[in-house]
Amino acid sequence: MPTFEYDDAAHLLRRMGFGGSPKQITALQAMGLSGAVDHLLNFQKVDNSALNSLLDASFNFSHPYKFNDFNIDEVKRWWFTRMIHTARPFEEKMTLFWHSHFATADSKVDNPIFMYLQNQTLRNLAVGRFDDLLLAVAQDPAMLVWLDGVTNVAGDPNENFAREMQELFTMGIFDVISGQPNYTQDDVHQIARTFTGWGFYWPNYNKKPFDLVFAIDPNSHDTGPKTIYGVTANYEGQDVLQIVAARQATARFLVKKFFNYFVYPLDLATSQDQQTVDTYANIYLTSNHSISAVLEAIFTSDEFFSDRARFALVKNPVEYVVGSILLSGATHNPGTQVYVGDAAVVQSLCDLMGQELLNPPDVSGWPVGIGWINTASALNRYTYADYVASNRPQNTSDAGVFLPAKVLKAQTKTTAVDTVANFANLLGPLPLDSASQANLVAYLTTASDGSTVDFTKNNQTVDDKIRGLVHQIMCLAEYQLN
């Protein structure tokens, strides 16, 4: 692409993160495209000490057996705090991506320690080699409970993980392009045997409750030869994961998921999109399965900046919730415990919108696209928008989301037309059609008795109509898209 404009930088930040302020977008634009992608993607270089200080002040996870300090809602509050306050948005975005990919729910795992550890694993290995991520997730306690690894024993193999690992985590049942089956039921059964005896234990629960150790129980592990994908050998589970991670079917499957999540929905009936998949699948295969190599290519591609990609995705509830705070300039105070004050507002409204973090509906994860919007979830989006727009700061120590008047006043212009344009820019930038612009201008110039009045920038207007304008823009269909 020829030049890296402000709108391009905003598009990149919405997709690789949750959006940002004009200042952040301008700074990103100044880095140029490759510099901006490098900055977001290679986030290890970015100082995140402000977030870490906030986390230290807002959470006490040192004694996970103290329920009020540590429970699944606290882990959610911790993750939302990260997403809202991080200087490394892509780190959290990829953690969210992998959470939906390796969808694991506390509803069955029923242990916040395991869920917390899996979240750390997803974050730590988010952009490394896919093989390493796959193995670590497979050996984490959360997955071993979630897909019944702990009851998978020699002689009576439980196929749950072996099946879902192939179907949902790596290749899919059928090849993304050729449509040919990637494996058979025999493969599922034989692969399940390689994972028999996989489990974990706590060496010292009382002193180190977060230190769990993966182990294979020799008494329930099947060491016999297995025939997998037509080859017979004494395979171990680790071998299988490496073999699967190296298959072209896996490369294609991952690229498809990356595109559907970060770029645009692919139409794999077209040769153009088939070629697109293979272009990036080849990068995966020739880069030693480097996730960051594939993503760097995708985020600097013509496809990513094409017209087809702009506002082609539906914001998921987390993007809606976190992004609305970041774009509007609202403050967020995580509080100190989830059940105190409004500390739970962000996560409980996200639940109501249909995305209960750490509790995806099933192993296939959350929907993408239009599936996020229905007549129930849409209303909850508008309620959250109203909450953000109209919640006025009371006491600086209060937990929750607040939109200060001075933030709004600074963005208010002297005319209604300019004010609408400026807030549409701030909350996107959103491309508004003339009808919605006219409706919003009319809103700003309508008094409570229905009469038309002049727009005047003053504290009263900011407190009344500007908060209403923010709410209205966040309710627009345009704002639901990413």
Partner: protein, 431 residues
């Protein structure tokens, strides 16, 4: 009961829940014309979840079983205590009696409007609340399915319907109502099921709503993502306005006590059912049955069985059901079927905290004018033959209740919802 917006937001963490099944199509301006949706032919199904694991053995009490008293020296109700607050016996058979708080339920039982199904559970019981709930809600013994049993029913029977054929009230949508094709919204309370605007500027509220509706009414490229999102959002707000205007028509001589939260939830159901003609499946969840401690009151070490958390909840349940049925009856809605469920019962042996731990199968109630009531169905589990964890063995597959209702009340082939596994398809409580 008007919740403030702030309370609504906090309620998102869970508690009492009511849900609505709405079709994905826009609600039309005319409602109530759907065939069979109103008048004598209209059938209503009400699901009541007793969340947390209701103590079945202290709900339907085996007062002649010495094992019950041996394992529950404090919690076990002696026969002499099976008497309600009015001095009426709550004994229903020569072996079983209802908890004394279930006064109205006992009266309905005597009127043959209540059937008790004994020993309801599933094989290989899991004592996790969540997995057990998933199994009940999806009717999938593995708990791996993402679709609810009522959601599957909605897909079959309600996908093309107009109006509001189903609903849930109180909190998050129950998994039982998860459906890929029919949108079933959950209404926390009517105050928040609306297009909410800045509470500090109520005078701007109409202008806000008008602006939203203007934007929702824009002409956008048909079939585009933007147009689809815009249309669904407009439908959502129109649905909410419709519910608001419908429930505003409600009037009744029945008073639902403010201090009974379940009665307040049933009031919401009555407001919906009496004003929205096509509404046929509704859901409400009542929490706090997880009585690991202080299930009954006690003075020091002396048990006081007639009061306590469990007695309070069952009393609320009994009162709410009775008021709700009276209310619906006064509105001519006499074809109403209520079923209860709970993810599990509780351990037979009481613990040392005047409570009980997670258990397995438990009895459930089927209530309504058309129920072949005044009798028990299934077999009471044998308390001398417990499993390795000290829990009862199920005698009735929970899916048998579902299939009976699907076939005899909802008029669909139960295999379409529940598959072809082998269990009793008709328990007979609907004739």
């Amino acid at each position: 009961m008007t919740l403030t917006r702030r309370q609504f937001i906090k309620t998102g963490m869970g508690s009492v829940a009511i849900g609505l099944v709405m079709p994905k199509l826009l609600l039309g301006g005319t409602r109530g014309g759907a065939s069979g949706a109103s008048g004598a032919g209209r059938k209503i199904l009400v699901i009541v979840q007793l969340a947390g694991g209701n103590d079945g053995l202290n709900t339907v009490i085996p007062y002649t079983d010495p094992n019950y008293y041996q394992l529950r020296p404090n919690l076990g109700f002696p026969q002499a205590e099976l008497v309600d607050a009015n001095g009426q016996s709550t004994i229903i058979t020569n072996q079983l009696g209802l908890h004394p708080s279930l006064s109205e339920i006992k009266s309905l039982y005597d009127q043959k409007k209540v059937a008790v199904v004994l020993g309801v559970g599933y094989q290989n019981p899991n004592l996790s609340h969540f997995l057990s709930e998933d199994i009940w809600e999806t009717a999938d013994p593995t708990g791996n399915s993402g679709e609810g049993w009522l959601g599957k029913y909605a897909d079959i029977a309600l996908a093309g319907a107009t109006g509001l054929p189903a609903a849930s009230v109180g909190g998050l949508l129950p998994k039982a109502m998860f459906s890929p094709n029919v949108v079933i919204p959950s209404i926390v309370d009517f105050g928040s099921y609306n297009f909410l605007t800045d509470p500090d500027h109520g005078d701007d509220s109409q202008d806000q709503l008008n602006t939203f509706l203007m934007n929702g009414g824009r002409n956008l490229t048909p079939g585009s993502l933007l147009q689809q999102v815009n249309q669904i959002g407009l439908n959502a707000v129109n649905n909410a306005l419709l519910v608001q205007s419908s429930v505003a028509q409600y009037s009744s001589t029945i008073t639902y006590p403010d201090d009974n939260p379940l009665a307040q939830a049933f009031l919401m159901l009555a407001q919906l059912l009496t004003t929205i003609n096509e509404l046929s499946v509704v859901y409400v969840s009542m929490g706090s049955f997880d009585h690991h401690s202080d299930e009954i009151d006690h003075n020091g070490n002396n048990p006081v069985r007639s009061t306590g958390q469990h007695a309070t909840l069952l009393g609320w349940f009994s009162q709410a059901i009775n008021l709700f049925l009276q209310d619906l009856g006064q509105h001519g809605l006499n074809n109403t079927l209520i079923m209860t469920w709970s993810e599990f019962g509780r351990r037979v042996q009481e613990n040392t905290s005047f409570g009980t731990d997670h258990g397995t199968a438990s009895p459930q109630f089927i209530i309504g004018n058309q129920v072949q009531g005044g009798t028990v169905y299934g077999t009471q589990p044998d308390l001398s033959n417990l499993d390795q964890y000290g829990n009862v063995q199920m005698t009735v597959d929970f899916r048998s209740i579902y299939s009976t209702i699907l076939q005899k009340w909802l008029d669909v082939d139960s295999t379409e919802v529940l598959g072809t596994d082998n269990f009793t398809r008709d328990l007979g409580f609907l004739g």
